[in-house]
Every structure is written in structure tokens, then in C-alpha cells.
């Protein structure tokens, strides 16, 4: 096939290059403005280390919760033929498209001191969730769980349902089938769902600042610390941003082969 002249393809090439520039220029700028020599000192600052530690802790907790409750939900959604299932699936996707700040407000209405659940919790158990590390985990789970469930459900739907029936005839209960057949067989899907959910939790900003606040060492996660540092200490903000960029690239690398071709 003869190639069309260059000018004929310009109509496609120009917007395509613009798109690439839109994505790449900011990232390059971040790398260019970084003070590479001072990087270790920046990362050792008292505002940086606790934020990173908190982010690591809360996102790990989020991931565990997603796996524990999200995997069974994904399996039920994947295999249910009930007529409410499509509605339930739509419901799961809502936090995916909801502005995170709205999610934070909703969390306050539910678990705040005056909240629907929160007021009872405070009265009965004396627990107050908002503005604690637990609230950070709530916020992160709220935004990350849909990513996890949808990714895992997708791979579970690809699993031949005859495997379920066969395992049942062999004497396996639904729980045993889930644990010893389904989960191992969709392990790659679970891994990519976990990576997506974790990346989403790491970047969580709006719901966290609304529901958990911005207390250094307690609820100030890495993205919040970046935002705060940008005013007073831009180099610390850049250093933290680069750490998160590195992590994102590593996550993308872990998904390679599934999403990159």
C-alpha cells in the first residue's frame, strides 16, 4: 500500500502530537525543576517523612479492605443473574465518576459527629471517625473500591462458568470454589485491580481533605503535603511529587503486558 503524502496525514499527526505534549510537558517540567542534588535532604524533611509514612499505611489498609470485601462482591456481581445486579453494578461505579470532594461531604454526612451513622457511633461507642487516620482510610476506600471491583469483576466474567459447576460436582462448596478455584485463576486480574485501586488511593485528595482534614502526621497524606508545601517549600513539594511519579511508573510497569501492548 502506498503511503499518503505527509501533508495528507498532517490532519491526524498535528492533533496527535498536541495530545502527547499536553501529557508530557508537565511531567518533563517536574523533572527539569527538581533539585536532584538536594533530593535526599528534601525527602528527609519533617513535613515529608510523616506524610509518606501515613500514605503508605493508609493505602495499604485500603488495599486490604478492598481485597477482603471487594473480591467477594466482584464474584457475586460476575455470576449473579438477578435483575437487581445491573443496578448494583451501576451503584458501584458511582464513586468512580463522583467528584471526590462530594464523596468527602457524603462521608461526613454518614460518619461525621452529626452524621447518620457517626452520631450513633459517638453515642454508643464514643468513637469519632472524622479527622483521624481511620477517616483517611475511609476516604481512600470510598474512591478506590470501585476501581478494584470493576477490574476484578471483569476478569471473573472471563472465567469459564463450567469451572464453577465442575468444582461443585467435585464437592466444593461455593466458598471453597471461590477460594481455591476462582481467586487463583483470576490472580492476574486481582493484581491489576489492586494496582489500580492502590494508585487511586495514593492520589486521593478531595475526599480526604474534606472528611479527614489536613493535620500533619495524622491525616496529612503525601498529596496533601505536596499541596501545602508548594506555598512554603516548593523544592519539598517537587521531591514528594517525584516520589509519587516514580511510584506511578512502577505501578504502570507492574501492569505492563496487561495494559501496555
Amino acid at each position: 500500500m502506498a503511503r499518503s503524502p505527509r501533508w495528507a496525514r498532517a490532519g491526524l499527526l498535528v492533533p496527535a502530537w498536541v495530545a502527547i505534549a499536553v501529557l508530557l510537558v508537565p511531567l518533563l517540567a517536574l523533572l527539569l525543576r527538581a533539585d536532584w542534588a538536594g533530593m535526599p535532604a528534601q525527602l528527609a524533611k519533617p513535613s515529608v517523612v510523616p506524610a509518606l509514612r501515613l500514605s503508605l499505611l493508609t493505602t495499604s489498609a485500603t488495599l486490604v479492605i478492598c481485597a477482603l470485601v471487594g473480591t467477594p462482591l466482584a464474584w457475586l456481581l460476575a455470576r449473579s443473574t438477578h435483575r437487581v445486579t445491573p443496578w448494583l453494578r451501576a451503584l458501584v461505579t458511582v464513586p468512580l465518576v463522583l467528584p471526590p470532594v462530594v464523596g468527602g461531604v457524603a462521608l461526613l454526612m454518614a460518619y461525621g459527629r452529626e452524621g447518620v451513622v457517626g452520631s450513633t457511633l459517638l453515642e454508643v461507642a464514643g468513637w469519632s471517625i472524622p479527622f483521624t487516620p481511620v477517616a483517611v482510610v475511609f476516604a481512600e476506600t470510598f474512591v478506590a473500591l470501585p476501581f478494584y471491583v470493576l477490574a476484578v469483576e471483569g476478569s471473573m466474567q472471563g472465567l469459564d462458568p463450567r469451572y464453577d459447576g465442575l468444582a461443585a460436582t467435585l464437592g466444593a462448596s461455593p466458598w471453597r470454589t471461590f477460594r481455591t478455584v476462582v481467586v487463583p485463576m483470576v490472580a492476574p486480574g486481582i493484581a491489576s485491580g489492586a494496582a489500580l485501586a492502590w494508585a487511586r488511593a495514593l492520589g486521593e485528595f478531595g475526599a480526604t481533605i474534606t472528611f479527614a482534614g489536613n493535620f500533619p502526621g495524622r491525616t496529612q497524606t503525601a498529596p496533601l503535603a505536596v499541596y501545602v508545601a508548594l506555598e512554603s517549600d516548593p523544592q519539598a513539594a517537587i521531591a514528594l511529587s517525584l516520589v509519587m511519579l516514580l511510584i506511578s511508573v512502577l505501578v504502570l510497569g507492574a501492569l505492563r503486558g496487561r495494559w501496555l501492548r
Binding site: 463450567r162 459447576g165 465442575l166 468444582a167 464437592g171 466444593a172 490472580a187
Partner: protein, 351 residues
């Protein structure tokens, strides 16, 4: 340990209504065209589909009976299922695949693995215990699937076209292995197949179903001698005609008289003629047998030294002739011929 099943259900366009019974040690082959309900029947016995009406009773235990509100979940039934695709668990070794059933039924790990090992050794797979399923050939994988189904000591072994996905050479060998293993199995085997050779070489009871209904059942010998349905006759390789008795020697088939040595004294009769008993001539033979009909060749299929010639005429017939005869008669599709059948080769019995 006997099976008594009476199953009624609707699934899509299929209306299934089948009664089935079998004794321990029996191998029952279920045959029928695609979509006739064979697989649905098997899945209902396994508990993957529920009856709408009827009852399934195995070894004295009630498995499914909507009228009495009894339904046993598949994991509590004693069945073993083998499908056309082996569907081995890809993340488990061969021995762990086979041990999966006993493990699920509460046998401790060591016991389950030794049971699995014994089952695999019996099927000649003692050297592949720690392999992954993807390292096996299709025939080996299917034998592992059989071992996995048998390792739970099922009362009902359900085989759904177990050989259909194998290539011809592997199929013959696997069929032989399957035969040996099934004869040592003391439960009931239900074998769904559309390959007559599977049914005739493995089963001691044949059940033919069509459109969800039982068409005929009996031992292979009975079915070969007296098919009662065109599909059954096709499976056992006979020409099958329905007719009406004229007298003790003659039958009216679609307006044409067919002469037989003997016609039973009932109005409606079935007529079978072996394809090898049909002789073909280019010109009407003189002093010929009384069963002589003008026919037209509609298809020719060569199988080794013989040819199966499909014919249209007063009724459809298949003639089996030698390849030499094909050359001598210069047979071709659309050619007009004369077919004759000796009266002694015509078999007539009540419909």
C-alpha cells in the same frame, strides 16, 4: 445404588421430559441430535440445573423432587462430571487436580493425594503427577479429568461427549482406556455422545432422545435389531422405513410395495434394510428380485474399499457398494439407476 430419575423441565426452547433408570455397574449411553437435551439431562442429574417436576433418586437418597421441596446442592451429590474439554484447574498440578474432589469432601491432604495417585496410576499417568495440565497432551488431560471425576467415588459418573474433542488416533486409544476403567467402576455411568462407536463399544444400555423426549431404549443388540426411529437407524447404520401391512409378505411404504419373508400381523410396521443388501444396476435387471425400484444418486461417500451411495426414489435409501462397483457403474451424482433388494434381506417388525 440404583438410579431412578423422572425429569421434567423447560430451558429455552427445549422441553425435557425423560424417565431414566439404571443399575449399579451399568453404562448407559444417551444419544440424540444436537439440542435434543442430552447435556441438560446430565446437568440436571449433577444438580447444576433444577427439575421443574419429577424426582431424582440415587442409591436411595432423594436428590431433587420439587413436589416434596427437596433439592440437594451439587456439592452434596455423589456425582463425577467429565466434559468434552478437560477443564483441569490450570493452577494445580495433575495430582492436586485429582485430589481436589476428595479434599473438598473433607479427606485430609495426605489421604486425598494418595487416592489421587492411585487413580492416576490406574490410568497410566503415574509419571505425570507433578506436571501442570498445560504440559499434557489432550488424551492425557482427558484421562486426568476422568481420574478427577472418579476420585470422589461417585454414585453417578456423568460423561458429556468425553471423546469428542480428541483427534481420531487419540480418541481410539482413550476410548479403549475409558472402556477398561469403566468396567471396573461399580457405580452408574451416564455417557452422553453422538458417536455411535462410543455408544456401541462402551455402553450396555442405549437411550435415544430427541427434542427432549425418549425415543427408544434398550441394549445395543436390541436397538441394532429393531430401531424404531430414523435417527436411531441412522446411528446403527440401517435403512429405515415406516410402512403399513398389506398381507403376510408385503408392506406398503409410501405407496410402493416392499416384499419381505414375513410381516407380523399388525397394521403399522417398521422396515429395515442393511445398506450392503442394496444392489445397484444401470438397466432394469431381468428375472430380478421383486424389490426393484428406480432411484437417483444424490451423494457418494467413499470409506476405504466401500462407498456409501445415497439414493432418492420411492423413498430414500443408502446402498453400500465396493469402490470397484463405483468404477464399473461410473457412478455420479444425479445418475438414474435401479436398486434391488432380495426379499430375504428385508426385516419387518411392529412399529
Amino acid at each position: 445404588m440404583s438410579l431412578k430419575a423422572d425429569i421434567t423441565l423447560t430451558r429455552g426452547l427445549l422441553q425435557l421430559g425423560i424417565e431414566l433408570s439404571a443399575q449399579p455397574g451399568q453404562i448407559v449411553a444417551v444419544l440424540g441430535p444436537n439440542g435434543s437435551g442430552k447435556t441438560t439431562l446430565l446437568h440436571t442429574l449433577a444438580g447444576l440445573i433444577r427439575c421443574r417436576q419429577g424426582r431424582i433418586q440415587v442409591a436411595g437418597a432423594l436428590w431433587d423432587c420439587p413436589a416434596e421441596k427437596v433439592w440437594m446442592a451439587p456439592e452434596h451429590r455423589r456425582t463425577g462430571l467429565v466434559l468434552a474439554d478437560h477443564l483441569l484447574f490450570p493452577h494445580l498440578s495433575v495430582v492436586d487436580n485429582v485430589a481436589f474432589g476428595p479434599r473438598s469432601r473433607g479427606v485430609p491432604r495426605a489421604g486425598a493425594r494418595s487416592r489421587a495417585r492411585a487413580e492416576l496410576v490406574a490410568l497410566g499417568l503415574g509419571g505425570r503427577l507433578e506436571d501442570r495440565p498445560r504440559e499434557l497432551s489432550s488424551g492425557q488431560a482427558q484421562r486426568v479429568a476422568l481420574a478427577r471425576a472418579l476420585a470422589t467415588d461417585p454414585a453417578l459418573l456423568l460423561l458429556d461427549e468425553p471423546l469428542s474433542a480428541l483427534d481420531p488416533t487419540t480418541r481410539a486409544q482413550t476410548r479403549a482406556d475409558l472402556g477398561v476403567r469403566l468396567r471396573a467402576f461399580d457405580g452408574i455411568t451416564i455417557l452422553v455422545t453422538h458417536d455411535p462407536l462410543d455408544a456401541l463399544s462402551l455402553a450396555d444400555q442405549l437411550v435415544f432422545i430427541d427434542a427432549g423426549r425418549l425415543v427408544q431404549q434398550g441394549t445395543p443388540r436390541e436397538v441394532i435389531a429393531r430401531p424404531r426411529d430414523p435417527y436411531v437407524a441412522h446411528v446403527v447404520g440401517l435403512n429405515f422405513l415406516r410402512g403399513e401391512r398389506i398381507d403376510g409378505r408385503q408392506v406398503d411404504v409410501a405407496g410402493t410395495t416392499v416384499v419381505a419373508p414375513e410381516v407380523p400381523p399388525v397394521a403399522a410396521v417398521c422396515v429395515t434394510i442393511a445398506p450392503s443388501a442394496v444392489a445397484l444396476y444401470q438397466a432394469r435387471p431381468h428375472g430380478s428380485p421383486r424389490n426393484t425400484w428406480p432411484v437417483t444418486v444424490s451423494d457418494i461417500l467413499l470409506i476405504g474399499q466401500t462407498a456409501r451411495v445415497s439414493l432418492t426414489g420411492p423413498f430414500a435409501l443408502v446402498a453400500e457398494v465396493t469402490t470397484a462397483a463405483v468404477a464399473d457403474l461410473q457412478l455420479g451424482v444425479g445418475q438414474d439407476l435401479w436398486a434391488t433388494v432380495k426379499a430375504t434381506e428385508v426385516h419387518v417388525y411392529p412399529a
